[in-house]
Symmetry: D2
């Protein structure tokens, strides 16, 4: 079958690879109907998160149709339209029982490998015609009839990540929320903050096109290079500061800046992937009683809730899709997505 | 000054009464600019909640302007536009410190009198030209410039009651919520459920006009005399039942019925004033792990959050105002409100 | 193999039944090393919860050693010392994903049968030499070396039930907690309230022997037929009433009485199995803002936490064991347990 | 009257100062019966937190008897035995309404001065014969008859600080908790973790005497210079890491180290006063989904709960008192306390 495979920085290739089969009784094999490229795939593409391995199939955002079902799987049947959790849990280890699938002791083999689809040869990804998913009763979810494939595609990673950001930020009805970043995760975090009842969402991004889209989403917007961010946030929050700040960019210095923008008792929630240490201005934590929270998403935790929001018409993440391309043009799709050109937010790949 | 006073069932009278003055250092006196009649005022009007006293000024939903300020009040100044909490707390007894102002040991004089404005001579009400409010730093709130008097009027009781209902019901993003009742409290409870992110709000009321308005508000609607309520709720919730049911009518049998409509783990939240005992089908509680919660509102707890929602354009409770009348026509206003005639939902009285 | 089987009211028999085998890839078969009789087994014994079936093996509290492991089970191996959850979940249906294993759509076959071990032929019980447990990765837990079999025996049902009661009651450091009942569940609920930091636990029971034991456990005690319960509770709580009341008897009228004993904002938590409707004094709920919660336990939810408490020496549920008998004398053990004679609290059966 | 006053680093003096009087209707004046020196007083003594002012009375931990009551105070009367919150709130500003008295806009005069007793001339402290306390209904609490002055003395600051640490750390029944520091705050944080049900409390301190006391308190102990902290914590927590780490020393590097010691999903709670920035290893936050929380205490929030624990015999903070001296020897008391000599943990000053 055809698959996009990783061969080093800026070297994604369309290759013929063996089609997967059910290996364990808890596996399913899916025919992939749509996949997409995530910001974290770009870490691979940029070589910033180099796996010692090469040649494996990439991609962790996908929907498909069940083709083969392991004998121990009881929630799925052949022909089911499904989405997967990009992060694979076993469902039964102490960490999965706490909902921390991302730290699953079993699928990470005791912390020695990634349990995210498409980040190594243990779990080949979904930018391919078919994919095997282990512990299917834990990691694969049926798509209801009134949810489209393109909507469900966002449930594998990016929408739960955005929702987690709003959840960690304790956004509630009446909250004033700052979101650093108007890329795909930031945009969805803004939507999630709104759906939880935020009275005001303040979006910050130096990209004027993305900032304008945030304005259309109903956010107040701040261009950080043209405006004084602290002064504007204070104006927009009655002088008190924001209830919470969501970091959806992945830059350590924004965490420090967030502490300035918060009211007493506020929360910083980090959804961006920050690779450096964070230099935390503790005096602000002390005087303002702040909370900082971050981590990897556990899509399984939010699946039912987010499906209900899509079904109820409260969220439509497919609004972010700007481009659709055949799987065979995957390498070009990576180029486009990395470039930020042509207003690209999300590229859907169709086998 | 002029005031509407209580003299028994269906006997509200406009009278001249002495104007109030600051009595304690923690009091303020307000010039009332608008008041309105609440469903609980009708209990008085119907004689169902008879006070042994008569002749006192009624009304607990009001906004005004500060005219006189006690020497110990530090959050308010003469000329401030304000709303009050209908329920008076002292702010410092053990119950107030828990946020349970409605059970305040001080203002209820140890449980021997009502601490709601306008339900006895201890705290004459606000359907009058002026009113004294005790413990003003606890019970009186400034109205921001971007909130109108008619919006703030709802913050004294009915909007916090509706929000409390959604809060007790643990409505969160993605919830399926049933609301019994499309009167003023039910309508606002539907709005509050939506603003907290409910994926679906299901409104039930036999009044077709009110039900149609709920439909316009974005609710799914059920006419309980024309449709099978249980069957419809199951259809609308994927066969699982609702996450929560809000009772906003005040009838004991709806609590029992609510237990039928809930999914496992669901919550019944009672905002209606029920005067009978509730016959609870415990088998459903046992099998489905249900929670039941109810009580009197503490408007102080929700004031900041609800103000922010109004300021952010997320809620506009003044949508419920159907009639405006001069204070002098108060008795007629009670007749109208009690009759449900002319599509009446909320009558504003202007001195 | 030998097993205790149900044949109608007061008719438990030791019989030879076929030994169970692994049927599904997710099953395990255990050699039972100890079992015990639960208060809910007495419902069967009294014929109060009659199954249409007879002849099935009873018993849902047990520990054992893994003898056979289905091919899809990944958390257990032959020879592991284990305890089981008395309530069987599939782990993957929407209800299990919420932690509501007791309402599992799969193991209850859509609500058509009990998913508790030993309450029908679908899931034969553990008062036997061997038992099959389905969905073993969900329902079976390894016992750490520093926890004895007799301690772990309580983790299958009765200790998590008691802990759930304290959890539903929101017992926290400093709470004043009333517990109706000093039987096995009540006694453990008192312990769980203490371990969560209750400042005062008030035990109520007409059985003087059990009440004296509660006193030794550090509880204040009230004999309901010799003392005025309300007056004593008010004295012991500074006149305010209790923060929460745990019902661990199973009598509807105690729920109503609980509402009287609570402070404003208090909680009633029902752990007892009540078969009648509950007549709820709503006026107290309204004036005091009360919460009522009850349901069946989900032992899976509390397993890790309770194991840690036993390992840390904070709880030792084996203190309740008063009698040990061979499995072959199971019928006599039921007689003894039902009689309350000889100070019996818990009878351990050893094959 | 006599008072200990601040005149620069290592220069505390006993002086005659004017006795305070009620200035506002919401004030009380107390006759101080006991005070004590807090670790944060040492910041003044060391000159590390220099106020531009000198000559003011120091001390924020005190109990006393009400001598004079402002006309607007309704919860206190002359002769009441009381403790105070060291942090002064107004009770009615938006921050106090959230429970964040430490950030009170009124008592800090908009953030321009400290609202802690004894840290400037605005609010002279309690190492004196008398003290004025503003907003007495908010900041002063009656001591029940069954609580001694020496127990209540700890409720002004240090016990609520320790409890806050356990609260921020989300310590619950069964938790494994690491506490850095066995000084007064660390010792009480260990007690608070135990009272909330921690299965295991692991105390770390290089002071062997203090560490031995922690062992007597029931903690597992680690000497950080003699043992490998990470290895020992993993051994004591079944290889998973701690559920939470409490920093009760005030050193930034311990926050970074805490991230290493935590299990996935763990929490760092900082009670120590850290004056440097914190260098946060974000990779650990990302991989393990960690939370960091810190801030100044709000003693008002925990007063009722901690009183109940003392009354119920669950906590006795007076166990920390090692020395008692007359107020007149206050300067010597500072020397002793700063020296860590003679096993000093807490010095009580008696006027």
């Amino acid at each position: 079958m055809q698959a996009i495979t990783y061969h080093g920085a800026r070297d994604m290739r369309l290759q013929d690879v063996p089609a997967p089969e059910v290996e364990a009784a808890t596996d399913v094999v899916l025919r992939v109907t749509r996949s997409t490229i995530c910001g974290s795939d770009l870490h691979l593409w940029h070589g910033a998160m180099p796996s010692p391995e090469t040649g494996f199939t990439v991609g962790h955002e996908l929907v498909g149709v069940v083709e083969e079902v392991g004998s121990a799987v009881h929630t799925l049947a052949t022909g089911d339209r499904v989405f997967v959790s990009a992060v694979l849990g076993c469902g039964s280890c102490p960490r999965c029982r706490r909902g921390l699938y991302s730290a699953c002791a079993v699928t990470t083999a005791g912390g020695t490998r990634s349990n995210v689809l498409g980040f190594g040869s243990a779990y080949p990804g979904g930018q391919a015609e078919r994919i095997r998913v282990p512990f299917a009763d834990v990691n694969v979810f049926a798509i209801p009839d009134d949810v489209t494939d393109e909507q469900a595609l966002f449930l594998t990673d990016i929408l739960p990540t955005a929702y987690m950001a709003a959840d960690f930020a304790r956004v509630e009805a009446g909250s004033h929320v700052v979101v650093f970043g108007c890329g795909p995760v930031g945009a969805l975090a803004q939507r999630c903050a709104q759906v939880r009842g935020a009275a005001r969402v303040i979006a910050i991004d130096p990209d004027e096109g993305r900032l304008a889209l945030a304005g259309k989403r109903g956010c107040d917007v701040i261009h950080p290079e043209k405006e004084n961010v602290l002064q504007r946030v204070l104006e927009l929050t009655g002088g008190e500061g924001a209830d919470s700040v969501i970091e959806a960019v992945g830059r350590a210095e924004l965490v420090s800046q967030a502490a300035l923008l918060l009211r007493a008792g506020g929360v910083i929630s980090v959804a961006g992937v920050i690779v450096a240490n964070v230099d935390l201005p503790w005096a602000l934590f002390l005087l303002k009683n702040l909370t900082l929270r971050g981590g990897l998403v556990n899509p399984q935790q939010y699946a039912a809730q987010l499906l209900a929001l899509i079904q109820g018409g409260r969220l439509d993440p497919s609004e972010l899709i700007t481009h659709r391309m055949p799987l065979a043009e995957g390498a070009a799709a990576y180029e486009l997505f990395a470039s930020h050109a042509d207003g690209v937010l999300k590229v859907v790949l169709e086998p």
